[in-house]
């Protein structure tokens, strides 16, 4: 496949053959043709994160820093200070934890134009175990002022997010998987705006708010419920965790009065917490539950087995929806007036 054609977009054909990381590498290379200010940085994970694709095309604009993630982010800050736009790729566990303070203090505090493409998010590195799982990163980086946080649902959305992050004059954290995540979109022909949830399925009985690889499963679960049980589940792909789409959450509160969040991340501090903050501040009654990795270290296993174990695959989502559908909530008569 050619990587240098201008205006190249990604379709079902590409997405079925390529992982999120591979699409990222190709899109970044394509962007590099038009943006001489883009530089690529990695820490001995150029091959694993696919930023190496950019490095092969632009060797003079690609820098490997060895296994030294603190320096990786400090250097990125320095380069951004001089007007370059560094794309920094490493595993999300290292970007958010090993280099945490360098991302926070060097990049975010100075509001620098650094784009972090954090791969192997959540439990996607399966058999590598908790050392290489990243189930706290959203909780950590969401707290950094100036930082935009995006979790694309699949390879096609990764392409959209990587393109869109160039429009933001400031730091962006894009968390993608290891690959092998099932495709959600057929093509790039759908509305993608940073900070705006995508309604994957309309619904009135309950809203599922999710991100990343869970979106595919939520859509499958909604389909099954609609066809087999005539239950109408709205699915919101909340690809931007920060700034979060408050309006979409408040509409879901008003319209469905039941919300469940699903994420490949700890239930502490990630998407679910961000949604809970909005609901709590609204003062509206709403049955609510957040699902994800419980407050424990995730185990080794194949990624799909782990998603099943932690009940964030189709089966788990169906089970949780069943629980929350039967739950009472405090009705509030002036909902419609205020939302």
């Amino acid at each position: 496949m050619s990587t240098t054609e201008g205006g190249l977009t990604w379709t079902v054909y590409d997405a079925d053959k390529l992982t999120q990381r591979e699409i990222y590498g190709l899109v970044l290379t394509e962007m590099g043709e038009r943006h001489p200010e883009i530089v690529g940085l990695s820490a001995d994970l150029a091959k694993s994160t696919k930023i190496g694709t950019f490095g092969e095309r632009f060797p003079e604009r690609f820098f490997n820093f060895g296994i030294a993630e603190q320096n990786l982010f400090g250097v990125a800050a320095g380069m951004a200070k001089a007007g370059l736009v560094p794309f920094v790729s490493t595993f999300s566990s290292f970007a958010s934890m090993r280099a945490c303070e360098f991302l926070r203090t060097d990049v975010c505090y100075q509001n620098l134009n650094v784009k972090v493409i954090a791969t192997h998010g959540g439990t996607s590195f399966g058999s590598a175990g908790a050392t290489h799982h990243s189930t706290e990163d959203l909780s950590i980086v969401r707290a950094f002022a100036n930082l935009t946080v995006i979790v694309p649902a699949d390879g096609i959305e990764t392409a959209r997010a990587v393109r869109a992050c160039m429009e933001i004059a400031g730091p962006v954290y894009i968390r993608i998987g290891r690959g092998f995540e099932p495709r959600v979109y057929d093509s790039e022909d759908y509305p993608f705006e940073i900070g705006q949830a995508v309604e994957m399925c309309p619904g009135t009985d309950l809203t599922v708010i999710c991100c990343g690889p869970v979106v595919y499963h939520a859509v499958q679960a909604a389909k099954i419920l609609r066809e087999e049980q005539r239950v109408s589940v709205r699915v919101l792909n909340m690809h931007t965790i920060k700034p979060i789409d408050e309006a979409a959450i408040l509409r879901a509160v008003a319209d469905t009065r039941r919300i469940v969040t699903f994420e490949d991340h700890s239930v502490i501090g990630g998407l679910g917490t961000a949604v809970a903050d909005v609901i709590a501040a609204s003062g509206k009654g709403c049955a609510f539950e957040k699902a994800g990795i419980p407050d424990e270290f995730s185990m080794h296993g194949y990624p799909e087995d782990l998603m099943h174990h932690y009940k964030i695959d189709t089966d788990g989502i169906l089970e949780k929806i069943g629980e929350v559908l039967g739950r009472d909530f405090e009705a509030d008569e002036d909902w419609e007036d205020e939302v």
């Binding site: 530089v39 320096n71 400090g74 250097v75 200070k81 001089a82 007007g83």
Partner: protein, 277 residues
Amino acid sequence: MPLPAEERARLKRIAFEIRQQIVDVTAWSGGAHIGGALSMTDILTILYFKYLNIEPAQPDWPDRDRFVLSKGHGGVGHAVALAHRGYFPKEDLREFNATGSKLGMHLDSRKAVGVDVSTGSMGHGLSQAVGLALAARVLRKNWRTYCIVGDGESNEGSIWEAAMAAHHYKLANLTAFCDRNHMMIDGLTEEVMGLEPLAAKWTAFGWQVRSVNGHDFDELADAVEFALANADGPVMIIADTVKGKGVDFMENDPAWHYGGLGGELLAKARASLERMA
């Protein structure tokens, strides 16, 4: 080669004025990292008043040389040097550490005019300096990057990550100083966490190393001239300094890492500077 006598005298006078002002700001602001600011004053002076290619009237001039204070707690010294170089009025130093001020203990590059990067947490500045030096290469610019690293700060592993990268990428446009004042908060560096043999460490990391008296402008100038002429890679100038330099009751006392100058102390400190000038 020794500096011309006039230039040496000029630099000495400026360094004296900067030290006076550091002492004043420490008194006004209720306290500052005065010991390490006084130890690196001569390095700041020779950079800001001899070597840095800068335009204070155009602080964002793209082709300016860059300076990174990796030991960011020396912000009081850096702020005073910037004011003396004309980046902002000296009166602004009255607001140092004040609520909402543009100037505080660790300088914010988005608020303090003339500060190229924000620093404060130890072990971050040298990496940012490496990034600036690499950016000059990508952008095909001739500006240079200078950085002052603290000796205590050199305990941080990230300093050595940056050291490796600067050598790997052969950053001859990067010149660093180590303000070797031999002290950190809890005492002598060699007692808290030994750094020696420090020059051998930098040499082993692939840097060209010059060891100088950090209060001798001739030696400092020689070392910078060596760095300017060197095309092979980064240069580390280990500047042997005295913590609290110029104020007799502060010199070589780790207790003056951070302190205030209330009551009679300000007059005593000023008198000492006069005597020792």
